[in-house]
Symmetry: C2
Subunit: 390 residues, 2 copies
């Protein structure tokens, strides 16, 4: 097990009705809030009113910013930061899914930063400049990205077709409300995409050729089993509280840092390739991941790392037998079938993506160097995976 | 899944050499420390000097209090609190195992409390009085209790033969150093006892008749598998870093609150009975648990809760078959065998405990009402379990 720092101070208020406790939990951090959300669905569902109520009851004033996009834009970050500066706001409260929370982190950063956060952080990763930010809090309405409990933020810049990520402990939300009933209205399509996204986050941390971090691997298998058990249940019966609750808590635990603590290395190649896809085509992140993942698995599988697939196949899919390569291939096939059964397309062409930008995407994905750790992927490898997925 | 609050802000510095970062991590909380430890073994091992070095390098002054006992006494708590008041100390730094850390929490509480913490908290659980305490930090030298990451404290009062526990988020250490190499010198006996203690904490949370909290159950199984995999390795080869590291991190995750978040109820009967044993006979906690646990399992097993034992037997011990009661009984037998192979006695008589205080202990364990949730244990039930274990 490698040395690590574990530091996950986000306070989680989990369960039905917890939003009523949000206001008093925010008070230690300030009483002027930027209330950030996406579409008006939170008004229809009544969540908007519940948030306003808990803020008002605790004497917290707020300025609203709505219209955050699914792949949130740097322009929204700038607009939010300007509002925070103009009104002297202290907390950015995101009410929505991962996109809204990611956007809130960008805003919290830009509001306390004189330079351009896009250039200095998202492009150049100059974390040494990250001295201060506003506090971030969230009310989660979609189980997928884990942004409610981690310091990651992915922002897009459409004019340059870029989608870039940052990550810092300083950007972790101080408080997040996780109420599974808010995800009852999530569509089948987005439920499937969220399920894939949660699994993909775990895959990215699980699949590495090193054999250490036994405890972490077993925990990841337990989370994968949970998501595989409940994903189809939530897909079939959107108001299954137990399914929604397990998916929601798995999404947070899957990417809050706990699983990778002590691991020598993690992969993240599939995410880097998918970011190119959704930057170019504005597709749903989880759908891109669902298409790419089985092809990535097939491409990287080798005698040197087959043991990870064997662990995965046996623990998660209960595949019997002793032939390692056979178990590995079956585990990939079962992963693909699971995604297909959730309505995830099998190939890029099914979502109208052709090979015209493959070169550009392979170039973009590897412009900071080769990707991943299961197999180091150069531009040609990324191109090959995209072609397999076509 | 039940509603819950997740709030685990303890920062963990994990791995070899991390103690060198302790001083700077303490600075946000103060620069006057009570340096609390047990025996002089930390002087022989060099850990004492390392702690002094990191404190000195960061301008942190300290007052020492040594001689904390394995079942720490309320008298030590009082002495420590007096020292803190006298010298205006801000942080209680425990360097040792769970006993030392538990003692530090009592001290931190008493140092900021005008009344008698023994009476008001350990006896009467008046948590509404818990407004303030000093900060607690730790350097862990024994993987067992999880005290390094939770708000629990168990203290003994020898003149009345009492051993009582409290638990509050406010007593969680702010920083804990977990360096597996500090456990290389832990004896086989204490390694076995620690392994049992970690498993018992998970059992107490795992074994409940309700069928919810799927995710939590799978995570607990993953931790049990880890401890069962590495306990014997550490027992056989005390300097196996990977084994010591997995046990250490499992001990923290096993009782930091994560596993019980969302569970409807947990049991803790075995712990309550064992506290009576070690209060009366000053035995090692993990040894008492190791003797009692299989008998408790046999006593509580019923058609209503057999499904929990089936989950346990299949996931953790890979027991085949379809007869539930058969799988359950085999899982209990395998648990017993595992403990015996670690040198844990099978019966109380092997550690010179007879039935002379059984009545008194059964009375003491149930004086606040019946124990547990797998089966509600009255005084007569506790007596029966003690007799089975004789």
């Amino acid at each position: 097990m490698n040395n690590f720092i574990y530091n996950i101070p986000t306070k989680i208020l989990f369960g039905q009705g917890q939003v009523r406790n949000l206001g008093k939990e925010l008070l230690p951090y300030g009483n002027k809030v930027l209330f950030l959300y996406g579409k008006n669905s939170i008004k229809r569902s009544g969540l908007y009113d519940e948030v306003v109520k808990t803020l008002s009851e605790n004497g917290i004033s707020f300025v609203e910013l709505s219209g955050v996009d699914p792949n949130p834009r740097i322009e929204t970050v700038k607009r939010g930061a300007d509002l925070c500066k103009e009104h002297g706001l202290e907390i950015v409260l995101a009410v929505g899914g991962g996109s809204t929370i990611d956007c809130a982190k960008g805003i919290a950063l830009q509001a306390k930063y004189d330079g351009d956060v896009w250039k200095d952080f998202y492009e150049d990763q100059k974390y040494e400049n990250l001295k201060d930010s506003l506090h971030v809090a969230s009310v989660l309405t979609l189980a997928a990205t884990g942004s409610e409990m981690n310091g990651n933020s992915v922002i897009s810049k459409l004019d340059t077709n870029q989608k870039l990520a940052i990550g810092s402990d300083k950007l972790r939300p101080v408080v997040s409300v996780l109420d599974p009933t808010y995800t009852f209205t999530v569509s089948k399509y987005q439920t499937a995409a969220g399920t894939v996204d949660i699994m993909s986050h775990i895959f990215e941390q699980y699949f590495s050729p090193d054999k250490g971090a036994y405890l972490q691997s077993r925990m990841m298998e337990s989370l994968l089993k949970t998501v595989i058990h409940f994903g189809p249940k939530a897909y079939e019966n959107p108001e299954d509280y137990e399914a929604r609750a397990n998916l929601m808590w798995a999404s947070s635990l899957g990417l809050n840092g706990l699983l990778s603590c002590g691991k020598k290395n993690t992969d993240w190649a599939t995410h880097m390739i998918e970011h190119e896809l959704s930057a170019k085509y504005d597709i749903t992140h989880g759908v891109g991941l669902g298409i790419l993942t089985p092809y990535w698995m097939e491409y990287v599988l080798s005698p040197e790392n087959v043991h990870r697939f064997v662990d995965y196949g046996k623990a998660v899919w209960k595949i019997p037998g002793t032939d390692s390569m056979d178990i590995a291939r079956k585990s990939i096939e079962m992963t693909r079938e699971f995604f297909i059964n959730l309505g995830i397309p099998e190939r890029l062409r099914e979502i109208d993506i052709d090979d015209s930008k493959f070169e550009e995407m392979a170039e973009g994905a590897t412009c900071r160097g080769p990707l991943g750790i299961m197999k180091k992927l150069e531009k040609k490898d990324v191109l090959e995976i995209l072609k397999m997925a076509l």
